[in-house]
């Protein structure tokens, strides 16, 4: 059989590799969009052009990488800051016992490339925050399989900020998967077009926290004893030494202290793994939940990359605790979302304008109705109305020229009690 023609199997591929996927891609269906380029067009994009970023190479990440590779994505980048722990091996199936201690991203990338012909998987062992906008700009799609709220907020805000209305491809769809025990969710975020991760921050479950007086005085559960050891005893005994929940010696110390406490209060059930679980806020990961959520995420990635079917709008949740229940709904944007909501305004001012003059202009502006605005740039405060110390510290700036504080095209964040959240100004000089 001949080698590569537009999107057709390359020489290393096994026979009929894409037989099933091609059933979807070779002809339009009643529900495919007008822009669907059945046949070589869509196959070429998927197999030769589309570049996708996978964030997280853990429980979800392993499933996502394998699904993407098998559906025909060829150019995958993967980021993970963790190394492989022995406890990962029951579900993170790209890793073997010999890999323990190695970076997840690197081992996962090598495994996929070894196993699936024609794959290019580029790993990065490190934090997503190490990468800049240029890096994220190169991808068509981003899929997240993360266990951290903070990392999700960061990538969400980064992708929202990346959107430039003049450059259509600056809008990178973000597909976010998450699991917690038997529950999970998959969502499609089109930054600035649909509700973003920050819009739904108040939907999150609170991490379990026990009242501090209970853990101090009336422990009843093994978890109370562990929290006592980590929240109260660690800082008391260890002083300023920072607790590292990945350090087995630190967990050992907490385990010993918590066990003694449990004995004193005749509480049973403090174990080493529970100690680790409580301080790291670990909820047991279930392989099948990861598989379902990863499948949903990759299905969305495939549909978005190929336009072969309508994509998820925009939130799918799975509740597997009692039977198998799932629910899909459209999470709406929040007008007062600090990331994608709020107003943004381009204004042009003279290079001679003082900060005071700018504030006066904002207050007088009929269409925004700001009272007592406070202004800052991403790196410094310009003028704060309160608290008194900061007002005093920033007051000298009122007399300064805006152009001395903000570069041309620079962003100024304005907050005021009359604004639902904030106003973002882009300042250019005439």
């Amino acid at each position: 059989m001949a080698a590569v023609v537009n999107g057709n199997p390359s020489s290393g591929d096994w026979q009929d590799r894409y037989y099933d996927v091609d059933q979807i891609l070779d002809r339009p269906g009643p529900r495919t969009a007008h822009s669907f380029m059945a046949g070589d067009g869509v196959k070429d994009f998927l197999r030769n052009q589309c570049k996708i970023l996978v964030i997280g190479a853990g429980g979800l990440g392993c499933e996502i990488l394998s699904n993407l590779a098998l559906t025909g994505f060829k150019d995958i980048h993967v980021i993970d800051m963790d190394t492989i722990d022995i406890s990962n091996l029951n579900r993170q199936f790209l890793f073997r016992q010999k890999d323990v201690g190695q970076p997840k991203a690197i081992v996962a990338a090598e495994y996929i490339m070894k196993r699936v012909p024609g794959m290019k998987v580029t790993p990065y062992y490190g934090k997503i925050q190490d990468k800049d906008d240029d890096y994220y700009m190169q991808f068509n799609l981003v899929i997240c399989g993360l266990d951290s709220v903070e990392a999700r907020r960061w990538i969400n805000a980064t992708l929202v900020n990346l959107v430039d209305p003049d450059i259509p491809e600056s809008l990178k769809p973000l597909i976010d998967g998450g699991t917690e025990g038997f529950k999970g969710q998959a969502r499609v975020i089109l930054p600035t077009a649909t509700s973003c991760y920050e819009c739904s921050l108040d939907m999150l479950n609170k991490p379990t926290a026990f009242p501090i007086c209970t853990i101090a005085n009336t422990p009843r559960l093994p978890e109370h004893c562990i929290e006592w050891a980590s929240v109260l005893e660690w800082p008391r005994v260890q002083g300023d030494k920072k607790m590292d929940t990945d350090d087995p010696e630190h967990i050992n110390w907490l385990y010993t202290v918590a066990s003694a406490r449990a004995k004193e209060f005749k509480i049973e059930g403090v174990t080493w793994s529970l100690t680790q679980g409580v301080v790291k806020n670990i909820i047991p990961a279930i392989a099948s939940t990861n598989a379902i959520i990863a499948a949903s995420c990759c299905n969305e990635a495939f549909k978005i990359a190929t336009t072969s079917a309508a994509y998820l709008n925009n939130y799918f949740m799975l509740i597997g605790t009692e039977g198998v229940y799932s629910y899909t709904f459209e999470h709406e944007r929040r007008e007062d979302c600090p990331v994608c909501g709020g107003e943004s305004l381009d204004i042009t001012v003279s290079r001679d304008w003082t900060v005071d003059r700018l504030i006066e202009m904002l207050v007088e502006k009929q269409d925004i109705q700001i009272k007592k605005p406070s202004l800052s740039t991403p790196t410094k405060q310009i003028y704060f109305q309160a608290p008194p110390q900061l007002e005093e510290a920033t007051r000298p700036n009122l007399e300064k020229k805006v152009s001395d504080l903000v570069p041309d095209g620079g962003e100024v964040t304005v907050t005021a009690s009359s604004l639902p959240f904030s106003l973002s100004l882009r300042i250019t000089y005439s």
């Binding site: 430039d164 600056s170 007086c213 309160a386 608290p387 900061l390």
Partner: protein, 183 residues
């Protein structure tokens, strides 16, 4: 690829950089500049450029006579806000050793909205008002300093006496407390 974009590469796109202000940073700016504190509370920033670490000083003097047990004192709390705010609550500690049923000798504070009842809709103002409330209505039912709580339950007069004694920098039951009186 879905139609929101064209498939053409735009090399210039990557060159355009926008600075970003993090959601946590904007939220802290909003919280701080809209603080509505009574004259009994002031904030101090050791480094005015660092909005995430500061001290709150409470000098309780409000309320009825019975509530004025901590009057004359000046109580300092450190606030440390992390980049995951407001998902994570601010970390608050009392910087002095004080005699209070809901504050232990290490400075840990038992205030529900700082832990189990924290929600992102709450803000720094709610936390500060909550802290001040602890001085107006110490709560013997949620003790961190058990002896102080028992004393409050047993004899209010003895408790008030102990409070005064501790605020002068004296000892209560062999425990040395920090002097917090301003006058």
């Amino acid at each position: 690829m879905i139609k929101i974009w064209s498939m053409k590469k735009n090399e210039e796109a990557a060159a355009k950089k926008k600075p970003k202000t993090s959601a946590a940073q904007i939220r802290v700016q909003k919280d701080l500049t809209e603080l509505d504190l009574p004259s009994t509370m002031t904030t101090t920033f050791p480094d005015p450029a660092d909005l995430l670490n500061f001290t709150l000083t409470i000098t309780p003097d409000e309320g009825t006579y019975i509530h004025r047990m901590y009057e004359g004192g000046s109580f300092k709390f450190s606030f440390a806000i992390n980049t995951n705010y407001p998902h994570d609550p601010p970390r608050v500690k009392c910087l002095q050793t004080i005699y209070h049923p809901n504050v232990d000798l290490e400075g840990n504070v038992c205030l529900n909205i700082l832990r189990e009842d924290w929600k992102p809709v709450l803000n720094l103002n709610s936390v500060m008002v909550g802290l001040q409330y602890l001085f107006l209505e110490p709560n013997a039912d949620d003790p961190l300093n058990k002896e102080a709580a028992e004393e409050l339950r047993r004899s209010r007069d003895q408790f008030l006496y102990n409070v005064k004694q501790s605020m002068r920098g004296g000892q209560v039951k062999g425990q040395q407390y920090d002097k917090v009186l301003v006058q």
